[in-house]
């Protein structure tokens, strides 16, 4: 029973990471209708910003993790937003009127560039992530050990999701974003600046990916330049599971994939860890391609 509880906590904290990354995939898909492959690598860059910044920030604020943590998080979100907006401006914007396949290949190219460029800049070997979140033991029974790290990870995720919900539902830019995702040309006729909205979407998505990177580093303190590949793909699968383009769906999908993966590795076989998510993807695409919350879209002629 307590082992089950332990697995559930692990699953939800892993799912939080997937959910945060999935939100970025789903939002970009909502406004641009394509998969932003480098998003998983923005997550990696986010973790590396934390890796380099945290040891400098912590002594600056007198060693207090309570202050250093949020500052590192914000810094990393800022850097990744800049990265996301740059990629969008340099690579995607000139290609917007071109065929989908062109954009897809470009996105894959940028993703590989960040991964292998990262290997050159950061070095290919794994690095150990500095301690940013306090890892005190909260509950300690013979069968269940609950540390504070996963609790903080889950709490931060929920906080960021609520913030995102507020931005998307209540602010002017968020409303514009929903309008663009609903109908781009109509939104543009209503005086919405499409370019601004798309840049804003990349800012939101990339900063959530950066946050996921920092949280991931705190949960599993070994990071490397290729760390974004599989979490990125699994987060994408989460977005598809929840219904791509649907924001609450992405969050739900992330938690589900995190839980399934933890259960399969815990109870069945750890070696199939990376294959499960793809199996789920193929099943969703075969039986309910619109996902849990998505609505089926008919193709326009």
């Amino acid at each position: 029973m307590s082992e089950l509880l332990q697995q559930i906590i692990n699953g939800i904290s892993l799912g939080s990471i997937y959910a945060l990354i999935a939100l970025g995939y789903t939002m970009v898909y909502g406004v641009l209708r394509f998969i932003n492959f480098p998003h998983g690598d923005a997550f990696m860059v986010g973790a590396f910003v934390g890796y380099y910044a945290a040891p400098r920030i912590v002594p600056l604020v007198g060693g207090s993790l309570l202050i250093a943590g949020p500052i590192t998080l914000l810094l990393s979100m800022l850097v990744c937003s800049a990265l996301g907006v740059t990629i969008e401006k340099l690579a995607y914007r000139p290609l917007r009127p071109r065929p989908k396949l062109t954009i897809l290949i470009t996105a894959i190219g940028i993703s590989l560039f960040l991964e292998f460029g990262g290997q050159l800049v950061f070095g290919p070997d794994p690095k150990s992530f500095p301690t940013l979140l306090p890892s005190a033991v909260i509950i300690n029974t013979p069968n269940l050990v609950l540390r504070s790290t996963p609790v903080i990870v889950i709490a931060t995720t929920v906080g960021l999701m609520l913030l995102l919900r507020f931005i998307v539902m209540k602010t002017k830019l968020g409303t514009a974003m929903r309008a663009v995702s609903y109908n781009q040309s109509a939104a543009s006729l209503m005086g919405i600046n499409i370019d601004t909205v798309i840049s804003f979407t990349f800012v939101l998505g990339s900063s959530l990916a950066a946050a996921a990177g920092i949280l991931y580093g705190s949960l599993y303190p070994s990071i490397n330049p290729l760390m974004g590949v599989f979490p990125g793909l699994k987060a994408f699968i989460s977005a598809v599971l929840g219904g791509i383009g649907n924001i609450p769906g992405a969050a739900i999908g992330g938690f589900i994939i995190g839980l399934i993966e933890t259960f399969v590795t815990g109870y069945l076989s750890p070696t199939y860890r990376d294959a499960i998510a793809f199996g789920i993807l193929i099943l969703i695409l075969l039986f309910k391609p619109s996902g849990i919350l998505g609505r089926a879209e008919s193709e326009k002629v």
Partner: protein, 320 residues
């Protein structure tokens, strides 16, 4: 060129590869290795070009098909106990290659079916995932050596086999796409809805592209396994698929001669650029982006074909 003329070219190419293979022992082994890799990469790239370039179904799982063909071929030839140079090799290697191709083709059928309802991006991820699933499954199969790899595969691949298969692959694929049947691939690529409205069975075309492409990738995997004589799942990771995709894109999607040249160039280049080997993938990825932004038709353009070259020469030769 009509089918008859191409058949003559095919037979001539196979005859030449046979003659060259008689002198194989005289070729510097390092060069021979590169030449064999060029051949294998040409098979991989032209077969992926059928799926990605002609049929427009972006696949990122070619290494998975290659792995299936390689492992199947390895099992066949080790079970039958072929020895290099033995007379049985003449029967066993083709058998191993064809069986490897068939297993890969069946997998292609399996991937082709979900592809019927997936658009570009989803298909790319599904095929990538499929390739990874194949790799993970092989890693967990003990009789295939698991993560340690499969050792002791007889070294049966030589110049003759590789370049005969290259000729057959190019022959089959170019005749397929140049036939009136093959126009359907281009129609599916250019506008699926319009093609469907014109009565083209888009489903069938996509599946045929996947199955044929996967078959040749499987054969290439078999040739590779019987050349290096040791394979492990890591050799067939998605980076391998990306390398093949880069060859297709540099050569120009849907441009077989361009893709062949690109496959040869991109096999030689890393060898020539050994000192900066760690930049290889960075250069590959940047060239993908730059080609897509500036020259999406590939380096060589759509006009690169024997006929258009001849036409251009004739035009220049004519006094104006």
């Amino acid at each position: 060129m009509g089918v008859h003329a191409t058949k003559v070219v095919l037979l001539a190419a196979i005859a030449i590869s046979f003659i060259v293979s008689l002198f194989q022992s005289q070729i510097n082994p390092y060069f021979l290795q590169i030449i064999i890799y060029i051949g294998i990469n040409i098979i991989l790239a032209t077969s992926l070009n059928l799926i990605n370039g002609y049929a427009g179904q972006f696949s990122l799982g070619h290494a998975g098909f290659m792995a299936l063909g390689g492992y199947t071929g390895a099992v066949v030839s080790t079970t039958l106990g072929a020895t290099p140079g033995g007379s049985s090799a003449v029967i066993i290697l083709p058998l191993a290659l064809v069986l490897g191709g068939i297993v890969a083709a069946l997998a292609g059928l399996l991937v082709g079916i979900p592809s019927l309802r997936l658009r570009g991006d989803y298909l790319a991820i599904t095929t990538l995932g499929f390739g990874e699933i194949i790799r993970v499954v092989i890693q967990n199969l003990d009789f295939l050596g698991g993560a340690r790899g499969f050792t002791g595969i007889p070294k049966l691949t030589n110049f003759f086999w590789v370049f005969s298969v290259v000729s057959i692959t190019v022959f089959v694929i170019s005749n397929l796409v140049n036939s009136s049947y093959g126009k359907g691939f281009l129609a599916v690529r250019d506008d699926e809805i319009a093609a469907q409205a014109m009565g083209i069975n888009t489903t069938k075309y996509k599946v045929v592209a996947f199955v044929t492409g996967a078959f040749f990738a499987g054969v290439a995997g078999g040739l590779y396994a019987h050349f290096v004589s040791y394979i492990n799942p890591q050799q067939f990771s998605f980076i391998r698929s990306i390398e093949i995709v880069v060859m297709v894109i540099v050569g120009g999607m849907g441009n077989t001669p361009g893709v062949i040249i690109a496959a040869a160039l991109l096999t030689i280049l890393p060898e020539a650029l050994r000192p900066i080997a760690e930049y290889r993938m960075v250069i590959y990825s940047l060239s993908l982006v730059i080609i897509m932004i500036t020259r999406p038709q590939g380096l060589f353009g759509r006009e690169l074909s024997l006929r258009s070259l001849l036409g251009r020469l004739r035009k220049q030769a004519m006094p104006v």
